[in-house]
Amino acid sequence: MPLQATLQPAYAIDHVHMGILPSPFHSRTSRLNLNQQWNEWNGFASAAYYSDAHIEYFSTRNTCGVFDVSPMRKYRFRGADAAAMLDRMVTRDVIAQAVDTVAYNVWCTDAGALVDDGTIFRLAEEEFMLCCADPCYDWFCLSAVGFDAVDITEISEEVAALALQGPTSCALLKAMGFTGIEDCKPFQIMRFAFASGEIMISRTGYTGDLGYELWLPPQDAKQLWDALFDKGALYGIQPLGDESLEMARLEAGFLAPDVDFHGSLHTVQRGHDHSPLELGLGWILNFKKAHFSGRAALLAQKESGNYRRLLKLDIEGNKPAEHSILYADKKCATEIGYITSAMWSPVVKANIAYGLVDAKFFKGPIWAEIYHQKELRWQRKVARCTRVTKAFWSPERARATPPPDC
């Protein structure tokens, strides 16, 4: 008798507990996650990759991909003092931010060290949603001291969210019946009736390409996923795992927490935290608006010019400079910094990286000491690095309204 075995799909093995929580989309994502490769993100399962990280990555540049951002921490700020309280906490002007828009922001300690970054959604005159990668409720409560009329609630569990990113994303949303989405400008918010209630769509994302983020109540999560994949086949939709997103965000010039920087409250040693200036975020420091936490320290730092720089680097050769130390000379005599993120960029066709370089050296020559393997044998090379000022990947379609083909 021939041997017969029936393989059970991994998602169907319900007696094996992952020890992490399912997101509202888990019943769908787990069916697509071929090898059940999960990372833990704020206690939730987040796919490391579904089938192949590179195929998923290419969908963000050529078709469209869906990333489950539900594990992101979301907070609601409501009340007459909400705008003033947030304005004092973050570096950009919240008072002037229009309703139904989104703004990327950072918040800092008194010493001007970055606590965390995130996006602020102004939902109404006196209501905001703030999204950030890590829990930050304690800092928000601390920042609300002295502001009476602001109510802060964590709503992470009340909102399911997907990022739909890539050149066909707008066309797909239109095909799904979200008419008018093509008029949504970058960082704008639109609302549509969907399933049992409403879906909020913001033109935001973490890939640097055309893309949207979709926010809705968890009970409608599966219906959204199914609708996306039902209509999406024609638009080349792919689920995105953490690994593909990591590639896309680096090309786009976005920072990853705990990769490119640690939040100040999570560092112990002096100088292991970062100011927004060091991280290349000087553009979101609004010194003309009302006071914000860390302002005096940041202004002094800016005026001194004496701070490290996180530089975008184009590195010769094709060996990613992961974990490399940076030097001012090819002989590697003067150490000047280190690489925080690095990859071979398939779309830019370049060996790209972020490097944090000491204040004295960021204008001079930079060399990366790269270790790589050839058939298990370790090789060392010292590669010249060239500073890049703009995002590595920033296609016109990411900014165009309406986007091309819509």
Partner: protein, 512 residues
């Protein structure tokens, strides 16, 4: 005032008046805005019953000669009603112990022998630390010469105590008062009396660590007389002299003018808005209000950084002392004390104080309340009608956050206080014509001091010197340019001393 002011001082309490007088003396155009209709804050002498007057603060242990001389206060009417009041540790049986200067009366032989050594050591410590009460706290890591000099001087003063005494100071500095007392003395009554000043005014009791020695040394910072002085006309006599001195130098005092907020434009304090809506501009605003009021109510958290705001919010501001004023139609009879002249401490032992504190910790108050009692009219006939008297008492512990609120408890607390008093002065109730009880809630409401805390925040090691009220504002200037502190919440602290006001004035003159 014809010209617009150079400097506005918010609050005409004694530190505000001192600061104003020094600044005006240096030629600055100063305007003092006081919410009440009388200057002097908690030091003002007020009529609490027809013909009877008292001030909330009632003695002047910390006042220094330099202030009196610099501002020519005697010329402006300041005088003493008493040079050195004795402290009497009261016993219900009449076996009191008297502390006057460096002598004990009525104590056991061993306590009498131990006292000079204890006093000598404390005086030595007090002398070492004294210069720093009148200096701006240094800024750590500034690299500045003056900061380095202050720190160096501090180190030197400690070292100059000699190796043994320096080590003793370090050992004793954070001791609870009880441990300190147990080390030197045997009489429970004496220990209660000598530990009194270590804790009065704070949310601390004999068994609490953190502040006892430093509070005792602070109490010993004055040098007006060798003992415990009383001002003529109550502390208000000093307040009036300060106000007169400030005015004589050209400062303007506007009474009944509560400040609603400080106006900040582009990170710079530019003026104040009064409760009436009137706006007065000045390039420098000095707040004599407590730090919580200064930063939250007057300035607003929106002008400050997050962590700094948090530290101000965490300041311990709950007052624990009620003030009792009694109008007496005749001199009451204290058991075993023919002439009740002096500072009478009603606490038989430290446990009595601790028990009263225990009740207060949980929002209640004890039946038997420790008290510091004074009959200032014995020394000053301006305070009461002829042959009648004023009794002025500090009553501990009256928690600011009493369960149910003070309106529900004022009568029963007063009853407990009178009953506690009656144990030492039987029949005193028959002499009482009128009584005024000022709970911490009343002090807050009537004098605008958060929590009714006389020290504008606990006086303790964690809230001292470079940390008073907190780092970032301990040098009289604040994170907001043009906004300064000059009150008891700043270094060196509370008590009628004026050092915060004079230090702030000096800091301001140095900077501008």
């Amino acid at each position: 005032m014809n010209k617009s002011p150079d400097i506005i001082i918010i609050g005409g309490g004694h530190n505000g008046l001192v600061c104003a007088a020094y600044l005006a003396k240096a030629g600055r155009q100063v305007l003092v805005l006081e919410a009440n209709t009388q200057a002097g804050g908690l030091g003002a002498t007020r009529e609490f019953a027809p013909g009877f007057r008292a001030s909330v603060a009632h003695t002047l242990p910390q006042l220094g000669k330099r202030l009196v001389k610099d501002l020519e206060l005697e010329r402006h009417g300041f005088g003493l009603a008493a040079q050195a009041l004795p402290t009497v540790a009261m016993c219900t049986s009449g076996k009191h112990i008297t502390v006057s200067g460096n002598e004990l009366g009525g104590a056991s032989a061993s306590d009498t022998a131990a006292y000079p050594a204890y006093l000598q050591l404390m005086q030595k410590f007090a002398k070492a630390i004294k210069p720093f009460w009148h200096k701006r706290p240094p800024l750590l890591g500034s690299g500045g010469l003056r900061d380095a000099a202050t720190l160096g001087q501090f180190g030197w003063k400690l070292r100059a105590l000699g190796k043994q005494d320096m080590r003793e100071l370090m050992r004793m500095i954070a001791l609870p008062a009880q441990d300190l007392m147990d080390e030197y003395f045997e009489s429970p009554l004496l220990k209660a009396a000598l530990s009194w000043d270590a804790n009065v005014g704070s949310k601390l009791a004999p068994r609490s660590p953190n502040n006892a020695v430093i509070a005792l040394l602070y109490r010993m910072s004055g040098d007006l007389t060798g003992g415990l002085p009383l001002a003529k006309g109550g502390c208000g006599g000093l307040m009036d002299a300060l106000a007169a001195a400030a005015r004589a130098h050209g400062a303007e005092l506007r009474l009944g003018s509560p400040v609603a907020r400080v106006i900040v434009e582009q990170g710079q304090a530019t003026g104040v808005q009064l409760g009436s809506g009137e706006i007065i501009s000045a390039p420098t605003i000095v707040s004599n209000a407590d730090p919580r009021t200064s930063f939250f109510k007057l300035l607003g958290a929106r002008h400050l950084d997050v962590q700094f705001t948090h530290r101000i919010n965490r300041l311990r501001m709950d007052g624990q002392v009620a003030k009792l004023h009694l109008a007496l139609e005749s001199l009451p009879n204290f058991t075993g004390l023919a002439h009740p002249d002096g500072r009478l401490l009603l606490a038989p032992d430290m446990a009595y104080i601790e028990n009263a504190f225990d009740a207060a910790k949980y929002g209640g108050y004890a039946r038997q309340l420790p008290m510091e009692v004074l009959l200032p009219s014995l020394r000053d006939d301006s305070l009461a009608p002829r042959d009648q008297h004023v009794l002025s008492a500090l009553v501990q512990y009256a928690p600011y956050t009493v369960k149910g609120g003070w309106d529900a408890h004022r009568d029963s607390f007063l009853e407990n206080a009178l009953a506690s008093l009656e144990r030492y002065a039987p029949g005193i109730r028959e002499c009482v014509i009128a009584a005024e009880l000022l709970t911490p809630a009343d002090l807050e409401q009537q004098f605008g001091v958060t929590g009714g805390h006389w020290h504008h925040g606990e006086f303790a090691l964690d809230n001292w010197w470079m940390n008073r009220p907190t780092y970032g504002a301990s040098r009289y200037h604040t994170p907001v340019s043009g906004f300064y502190l000059c009150g008891a919440g700043a270094h060196p602290g509370g008590g009628i001393m004026g050092a915060a006001g004079s230090n702030a004035a000096r800091a301001l003159l140095e900077e501008n």
